[in-house]
């Protein structure tokens, strides 16, 4: 207790030197928590968006379907197994049929995935209800994402030729009309694909009652579906998490740099303290302090830099980070190149675990960094210390 009081007294008595260190440490606290919060928020936001727009409660896929191999699409379709058909009928699952197609907007050619989906579905966060209204000229109604619109130059109301191959391998074509362009942060339901009514696609391809995969509504128990293959939510998110993990390398470097800067300040101060305060150490020993107690005192002083840093960080960091968490962080225009679903604003997530973990880590590292230079005291002779010399 005495040592604690003395350490605090010495630390506060050092004045500006202490407060400069504390300020640097508090900055590190806030910046580390902010950068990690951004990553966590990005992860959470991307997962949420993917679940809402693409993953749902997981997919059950036709056994021939390989999402990474477009060549499998020719054979990757089949009638829905009875349990899946029942779920689809009750609105707890949505079947999706995929066919390869080609579109010719303004004479240009784009190979696309044609995805058939029930316009009345509510499982996926895609505005498929626009597909329900018939078009004036009998064209195939389609919706596309903003990325696809940008790539192809298509606008709402544009008409173009859609070509596809039916179940027998015969090429056929129809006019299609863009009835809606939707904005989504999930690139995998947007780029290189068009969405049309499921029944229409089934009719066009001659694949009545068939689907490529079925998206389960979140919370729906996984049914037994014959040889259809489950691709669970975790399977989808594993890819995302691996991608986020790869993207966090930069953030980790920032984390380490901030921490290293703060620790450098503490280490420097400790070394300087031990150099400048040798006579004080000698006096403490003359008054009856053991070397161990002097080491403990100086280590505590260093450690309290971290405690004060955390307190100061809390004073301005909590309101600042709470404000950022509420208003979000504007993402740059080329955010799509990050490769995962982030909205125009990123909302950082500052969980208790992140704040407590960062605080504990910084305090631990501060204590270690504070302790390291004090080991010199163990070699210090009281007589040398009193003369202001190092042993």
């Amino acid at each position: 207790m005495t040592l604690l009081k003395l350490a605090i007294k010495n630390l506060l008595g050092a004045g500006l030197r202490t407060w400069l260190n504390v300020f640097v440490l508090s900055l590190s606290f806030v910046l580390i928590i902010f950068s990690q919060g951004l990553i966590q928020g990005m992860n959470r936001q991307a997962e949420g968006a993917m679940i809402a727009s693409e993953v749902g409660g997981g997919h059950l896929q036709h056994p021939a379907y390989d999402p990474y191999d477009p060549l499998t699409l020719t054979d990757a379709h089949g009638p829905l197994p009875a349990p899946l058909a029942a779920l689809a009928a009750s609105g707890k699952a949505v079947p999706v049929l995929i066919a390869q197609g080609t579109i010719y907007p303004e004479g240009r050619l784009y190979t696309v995935l044609v995805k058939g989906v029930d316009p009345g579905q509510t499982v996926l966060n895609i505005p498929t209800s626009f597909l329900a209204a018939p078009t004036e000229g009998g064209e195939v109604p389609i919706i596309i994402g903003t990325r696809m619109a940008k790539t192809t130059g298509l606008k709402k109301g544009d008409t173009f030729t859609l070509q596809w191959r039916d179940a027998r391998g015969t090429f056929d074509a129809l006019d299609a009309k863009v009835v809606e362009i939707f904005s989504t942060s999930v690139q995998t339901v947007d780029s290189g694909q068009i969405w049309i009514p499921l029944d229409r696609l089934r009719e066009m391809t001659g694949l009545s009652g068939e689907a490529t995969f079925v998206v389960l509504a979140p919370g729906t128990p996984i049914p037994k579906a014959g040889d259809w293959v489950l691709r669970s939510r975790d399977d989808f998110l594993a890819d995302l998490r691996a991608m986020v993990e790869a993207k966090t390398v930069g953030s980790t470097i920032v984390y380490i740099v901030f921490l290293a800067l703060a620790m450098l300040a503490i280490f420097d101060t400790q070394v300087l303290s031990i150099f400048r305060r040798r006579r004080e150490m000698g006096t403490l020993m003359a008054l009856g302090f053991t070397r161990g107690k002097v080491i403990a005192l100086f280590t505590l002083e260093g450690m309290f830099n971290g405690v004060l840093g955390a307190l100061v960080a809390a004073v301005y960091g909590i309101p600042l980070l709470a404000w950022i968490a509420r208003t979000g962080w504007a993402m740059p225009a080329n955010v799509d190149s990050y490769g995962f679903a982030i909205g125009e604003r990123l909302f950082p997530s500052f969980g208790l675990g992140l704040v407590a973990g960062t605080t504990l880590l910084v305090l631990l590292v501060t204590t270690i960094v504070s302790f390291l230079p004090t080991r010199r005291i163990a070699r210090l002779k009281p007589t040398d210390a009193l003369r202001g010399r190092t042993s």
């Binding site: 005495t2 003395l6 506060l12 003359a286």
Partner: protein, 237 residues
């Protein structure tokens, strides 16, 4: 039955290695001090005064020989035992005062009691009594930087005697003081010696200090050249 001496040194030697050379700071010192003495080690610079004082204060250990302080052989004490001996039984007064700069006068004096574990009320009583002995009870809140040299040394004296040690070791206590302040603090120490029975042992080559000593031990080249009882004249100044 005679009282056991406070300090006994036998053939005390201290040799410092200075690269390839050896410097003999103490070359076989035999001395005995009784309780309540007001004695001084005098002699030129390099004669071994401070070295002897440091060994008696358990801040250093002899190379050879023995130094018994309050029945404890300094050369056998561990770091912790030496620290405990200093904490409980020995007070130090330094030439440069060595006050802790971030503490007030009160806290500097109280510091010596913190490790003894005295309750706060008891500490306060002892600190105020010590500050009254040195006539600084009205400066409790001052910082060392706000004190004159004489006041700083009086705070150091209060810190040295607040725990009522058996022995106070004063290394050149007047070296940084003018004549008037020197006499003031010497009179204070002489009074404390008389009233509290505390043993004072000085290392000095200041003539003013020598006027107050009742025993003067002259060291030359690490040896006791003279050991004489004197009639202190300074106390009457």
């Amino acid at each position: 039955m005679t009282e056991e001496p406070l300090i006994v040194t036998k053939d005390l030697k201290k040799i410092y290695a200075m690269g390839p050379h050896k410097l003999e700071a103490l070359a076989g010192v035999n001395l005995t001090f009784a309780r309540g003495e007001f004695a001084g080690l005098v002699g030129p610079s390099g004669s071994g005064k401070t070295t002897l004082l440091n060994i008696l204060g358990s801040l250093d250990v002899p190379t050879e020989g023995s130094a018994m302080v309050m029945g404890r052989a300094i050369e056998t004490l561990s770091h912790k035992e030496a620290a405990r001996l200093r904490n409980r039984h020995i007070g130090f007064i330094f030439q440069t005062f060595n006050l802790l700069p971030v503490y007030s006068v009160y806290e500097n004096v109280e510091f010596a009691l913190l490790l003894l574990g005295d309750p706060p009320a008891e500490r306060r009583r002892k600190v105020m009594a010590a500050l009254e002995w040195v006539h600084l009870a009205d400066r409790v809140k001052s910082r060392p930087a706000q004190l004159s040299g004489g006041e700083s040394q009086r705070v150091a004296i209060a810190r040295a005697v607040v725990k009522r040690p058996d022995l106070v070791l004063a290394d050149e206590p007047t070296a940084n003081l003018d004549a008037e302040n020197s006499h003031n603090i010497l009179r204070t120490m002489e009074r404390l010696n008389r009233e509290l029975g505390t043993t004072f042992l000085f290392a000095t080559h200041d003539a003013k200090v020598m006027q107050y000593l009742r025993r003067k031990i002259t060291l030359v080249d690490g040896r006791v050249a003279a050991d004489e009882m004197t009639e202190a004249s300074g106390a009457r100044l």
